[in-house]
């Protein structure tokens, strides 16, 4: 039933003028679980989070958070959730500790409690040395941690994290993952949006893949991987110019379903390691030299590609993925 889940949204539609940011999105986050909302830029992740956080009214549809209607019981919803936006929004001129105190006040918390809770969070988020410096001196990773710490001041049972690690260096990303994992271990329900398949794979119990404002797939990471089936072979060629020749040459092994990314061509195979021999032979006959050759389990990237026809993250048009489908060549 709708009200028992931490988040329950049905048929969310959001129009911005002509743009349909959400197009009938359904979403359920059971209590105590981590659901990853996975989608490329512009797919509607932030819009979904903002509707659930009461910051935006849906054009159509209905949503409950912690059993409260997001439109009619906004105040109760705001008391139930912690929200960290896509960009860390900390007050530059206040110190880390003052930022935390400010949020404590906004959540109507008693000052002695805020003081103690702030200290806890400062220690936990590794901000001890920086706690009494203005936040404008913080690095990107520290700002993100402070931002997340601020949203935890009232110990919310439901946490919305909008792309919590976008733009972080790998070390800070690992740190953030650790923090999220321990929050989950304490029983916090998390709705996490991400463009990183690896992140959803690592953190989420359940992954909801969205594109153009609607859900296109749903399941655990394993289930999604199974959807596109078997193993894949990845071949990297030494000469970038010949990558499309390689793709053509390998059409027999990949059954016409291959993807080119930079100097790598990959595709689904059946037959395990014996196909590796075929790959080498086919490329050799065209005088294409191989830089790297690997057989692997499908990743969520492959899932995404097979579901949407485009990659999850394709910001750089030169790196855009080209793809052949059932023998028709398009590059």
């Amino acid at each position: 039933m709708a009200k028992e889940d931490a988040v329950h949204a049905e048929g969310l539609v959001k129009e911005f003028g002509d743009v349909k940011a959400l197009d009938g999105l359904d979403l359920v986050v059971p209590r105590g679980q981590v659901v990853g909302l996975l989608g490329p830029n512009g797919s509607g992740k932030t819009t979904t989070v903002r509707i659930l956080a009461t910051l935006l009214k849906p054009t159509k549809g209905i949503a409950y958070v912690n059993g409260f209607n997001v439109e009619k019981q906004a105040d109760q919803v705001r008391h139930s959730i912690g929200l960290t936006g896509q960009y860390a929004a900390v007050d530059e001129f206040l110190t880390g500790r003052e930022n935390l105190r400010m949020f404590g006040d906004l959540y109507h918390l008693a000052p002695p409690y805020v003081k103690q809770r702030s200290q806890e969070l400062i220690e936990w988020f590794d901000l001890i040395e920086a706690a009494d410096r203005p936040a404008k001196t913080y690095s990107g990773g520290m700002r993100r941690r402070l931002d997340l710490a601020s949203s935890l001041i009232a110990k919310p049972s439901i946490l919305f994290l909008d792309e919590p690690t976008t733009g972080l260096d790998p070390r800070s990303r690992l740190g953030m993952w650790g923090v999220i994992e321990s929050l989950v271990a304490e029983g916090t329900t998390v709705l996490l949006t991400t463009q990183y398949l690896e992140e959803a794979d690592k953190l989420a119990d359940d992954i909801v893949v969205i594109d153009h404002g609607r859900v296109i797939a749903h399941g655990t990471a394993e289930e999604l991987k199974d959807q596109i089936g078997g193993d894949r072979i990845e071949v990297t060629v030494t000469d970038l110019e010949r990558i499309h020749d390689a793709q053509t040459a390998l059409a027999p092994v990949f059954g016409g379903e291959s993807i080119v990314n930079d100097s790598m061509v990959s595709g689904p195979v059946s037959g395990g390691s014996t196909v590796l021999v075929d790959v080498v032979r086919l490329l050799d006959s065209q005088n294409i030299t191989i830089a790297d050759l690997a057989l692997r389990r499908p990743t969520l990237d492959d899932v995404f590609l097979s579901l949407t026809g485009h990659g999850a993250v394709d910001e750089n048009p030169e790196k855009a993925v080209s793809r052949t489908r059932k023998g028709r060549n398009q590059s």
Binding site: F16, A53, T54, L55, L56, D75, R78, H79, L83, G85, Y87, A88, A89, V90, D91, E92, F93, L94, E98, M102, F103, D105, L106, Y107, H108, L109, A110, Y113, P134, D147, S150
Partner: protein, 271 residues
């Protein structure tokens, strides 16, 4: 939960004043531009023209100028301050962040009004101290003058705070907001008799300035700091305090309307 204290918008807004003041004074640009500027101008203008009398009135330029600087101080600490800082807070997402908390929106505005008021009181105190110690400014003595000073300050602060909140939608970005705000303030100052004797200005300029509140604030402050005889130098030979009150109240109503219609928590293009 035992740690929750139930607090209304007013209580929470009062609690925000301290935080707002920290932001105001720790932002070096804001501290100089909105807080210290009237003192700096008083020292410069006072040192250059200070001793000169205005015509044969026996009133020193400094005495005239300090009234204009106090009126300007109201505009700096409220209008200029908010119209520059709110776009920055909006751009860096801190406003959106606040919007997502259980804070009643009124608490935000009460915090701003409190911050503006405290900054103005501190500013006026320093300004008058500088005037008295370095430029021999005469202080108002009658309780009527002090009463006038208080109500003009309050109405002026409310009007320009609301107008600053409304005008904060004009700068699209935080960076460059100052360039869209300070020319407005400067034009008002030059035409409202802050830097020049108002009645020396061309007629059209006087008519223009009379539409806006700064002219009336400056005139009201002159009634506080200049002797009664100086009223003869005003446009209608009187301080027009009743009309001043009406003009300020009309601007407060207009400011409240514009602020409620136009204030936004997120940048344009984001809803």
């Amino acid at each position: 939960m035992t740690n929750i204290i139930r607090q209304g918008a007013v209580g929470m807004g009062m609690g925000r004043v301290g935080i707002e003041l920290k932001q105001f004074f720790r932002d070096r640009e804001s501290a100089v531009f909105n807080f210290l500027l009237p003192m700096i101008l008083l020292v410069i203008f006072g040192s250059v023209f200070g001793g000169q009398d205005l015509g044969d009135s026996g009133i020193t330029f400094s005495q005239y100028f300090v009234a204009g600087m106090i009126a300007s101080g109201i505009v700096y600490t409220s209008f200029q301050n908010l119209a520059i800082s709110i776009p920055m807070e909006r751009e860096d997402g801190t406003l959106k962040r606040l919007q997502g908390t259980p804070m009643p929106p009124a608490a935000f505005f009460i915090g701003k009004i409190g911050m503006v008021s405290v900054a103005y009181i501190a500013q006026v105190t320093i300004l008058i101290a500088v005037g008295v110690f370095f430029f021999d400014i005469d202080m108002p003595t009658t309780s009527f003058a002090i009463f006038t000073f208080i109500w003009i300050s309050i109405l002026g602060l409310i009007a320009f705070t609301l107008l600053g909140i409304a005008y904060s939608v004009v700068p699209k970005q935080g960076r460059g907001a100052a360039a869209l705000v300070s020319p407005v303030v400067l034009v008002l100052q030059f035409t409202s008799g802050v830097f020049f004797v108002f009645t020396d200005l061309p007629q059209w300029m006087q008519s223009f300035a009379s539409l806006f509140p700064l002219k009336w604030l400056a005139q009201g402050m002159r009634s506080v700091f200049l002797p009664e005889s100086a009223a003869a130098m005003e446009v209608n030979g009187s301080w027009e305090l009743g009309l001043t009150a009406i003009v300020l109240v009309v601007w407060i109503a207009l400011g409240a309307l514009l602020a409620t219609l136009f204030f936004r928590w997120v940048p344009r293009g984001e809803n």
